[in-house]
Every structure is written in C-alpha cells, then in structure tokens.
Symmetry: D2
Subunit: 105 residues, 4 copies
C-alpha cells in the first residue's frame, strides 16, 4: 500500500548491509515521527491553535533531518568510502553532492 | 497515545474555526505524509539503498513545509489580521515572527 | 555601479520611513557582512582550507538571515499591520507569504 | 582589516592547491556577492521597500549556497577522497558531516 510513495526502485543496496541494531535505531526514530504526524492530524481535527500545529510540524522536520543526517553519515562512511577505495569515487561523490543539494533546498 | 507528542496545550484556538473542507484538505496531506513515513520504514527494513531513502526523506520535508506554509497563510489572514484590527497586533506579530524563525532554523 | 544588482524597482516605500537609528543598525550589520565576504575572498586567494572557508560562508548566511528577519519583523509590524488596518490586508499578507516562502527555499 | 572576520586559522590546506582558473571562478562569484551586499546597503539608505530588500537578501543567500556547494564538491573530490585512499577517511568524513550539518541549520 505504501509502495505508491516509494521512489523508483534503484537496484543499489548499501555496500555493508544495515545491522539489526542499526535498523532498530532508525525504525524507532521513524515510528516516533509517524506518531508525531498522527499527533498533528489530531490537532487539526480538534481545531487546535495554528501556531501550536506549526511548532509541531517544525519539530517533525528537525527529527527527519536528524534521521537523514545519520543515514547520510553511514552512507558516506560505507558506500562512498568503499567506492573511492575501489576507484569508483567520482560517481559516488557526484551522487552524494546531488542528494546534499536536494536537502538544502 | 499520540498525546505524548503534542506540545503543551495552549488554550488558544483559531479565531475562525477551520471549515470541514479546510480540515479535510489538511488531513489528506497529513495522511499522505504518514504514508510516506511508513514507506521509508519499509525501505529501511528492506535494506534499500541509502540515497533512495534520503531522497524520500527530503520529499517528506518538502511536503511538511507545504502544509506548514498553508497553515501559516491561514493563520496570518485570520488570526493575525484579526488581532491587528482589534488592537492586539503586536503580540500576534511577535508570535508569528517567532514561529517563522523556528521554521527557518 | 551596484545598481546592476538591484531588483527591479518597485515604487513602494516602507509606510513608516526608517529612522536614522534603524538605518544605522542595519547598515552596520551589512558593512560587517561585506567585510566577511571580503574575508573569504582573501581566504580563497591564500588557498586556505576548504572547510574553513565553508564555515565562514555558513556564518555569512546566518548573519544575512538575521538582517532579513529583522527587516521582515519591521515590515510586518508597520507595512502589513497598516495595510490590514486600512482594509488592504489581503494583498499585503499574500506578498508577505510569498517572501517568506522564498526565504525558506 | 578583514582578518578580524577570519575563523581561527587551521593549518590545513586543500590537498590539491586551487588552480588559477579555480580561484578566478570563485573570486568572480564572491566579487559579485560583495556587490550585491553593497547593493542592499544602498537600498536601505534610499529607504527602499522592505520586501524588495528581502528578495535581494534571499538572492545573496542562494548565491552563497552555490559557492559553498561548489567548494564542498571540490573538497570531497580531492581532500576527502585523498584521505580515504590514505586510510584517514574516518576523520575527514566526520569533518565533512559536521560542516554539512552546519549548513543545514
């Protein structure tokens, strides 16, 4: 069902698979963010004050940025570093720069 | 259950209650965002490529910004404008500026 | 000479002219920012370390955001509030929302 | 004179010195940004409309982001890639992540 939201599948995988612990840490954060999104749905339904909803949206953005940054960090330490060592650094760095630019917009 | 994520309750309400249509429009966007958050949970579980997950996180941030902007717009047109007409503009504008600053961080 | 960088002239003016003190406060900040921009020019000429230059660019961005926020605050307190009181609020708020959106991109 | 704005000197240098052409390209952008900053000083002195000044500040921010991104790109292709190849990748990547985080704030 959620598949409709997934970006087009790339066939790539992280060079080093995420460990159970890593997955759990990211999942916990994402579950919390999902709860926060449901929280603001309830706020809107209850006709809560606009500024209170806005503060909450800003908190979700920051939480997403944190997850994003930790994924970016892992990606650079593993996938990008590995590509550089294997002589495929240029492509990996270009891809990295592109996603960083996307985040800063 | 989601209550734990709600910011401290302010007693304020939008000066003009959200109409059923307005609520529906915001709720649809938030439901979609909730689906996107679940989508990236599945991506992490499936050990999908880091950059694909990052692109999706960036899309959620943009979707949240859009919801935030539309709430901000409504808030300014109704709550802030009304406060200004009633001679309580200073406080309402200070509050508005603070929430805008929070978003830009 | 700098005129080439100015956006197309709008005929509008702040409803309440900036006082000498207000102009001075903004000008001091802008002079400091100009100095910072010249500072990074020197850093580039001296082939200084990339990350050091980047940190400085980030500092200039933050300084510009601060000036921007203070101008936005004054604009809302004076121009927007005045337009709302005079029954021209809609247009002033739309313009405000547009410039806020531009900043958040 | 501008030295007061320089961050504390790090002894590091780009692993591959900037070429004359690279320096020129960055300097041209920075000279243009300096002109834009002087442009908004003139706008403030002339008591130009707040929103016009704000649009111009937003343009400078975007121009700085572009310079920053191109420096970041070069830094990653040369300094970070070289550190990774020489077995000092961890430190270089941590530094990179930190400066990216600083930019996103």
């Amino acid at each position: 069902m959620n598949e409709q939201y997934l970006p087009e599948a790339s066939n790539k995988k992280p060079v080093k698979p995420r460990t159970v612990q890593e997955k759990e840490a990211v999942m916990n954060r994402l579950k919390r963010i999902e709860g926060q999104v449901r929280g603001i749905q309830k706020m809107v339904e209850d006709d809560r004050y606009c500024v209170d909803v806005l503060i909450q949206i800003s908190a979700i953005n920051k939480a997403l940025d944190k997850v994003g940054h930790s994924l970016l960090e892992r990606h650079t330490h593993h996938c990008v570093a590995s590509a550089i060592k294997n002589g495929n650094g240029e492509e990996a760095i270009d891809e990295l720069m592109k996603v960083i630019q996307q985040f800063s917009k």
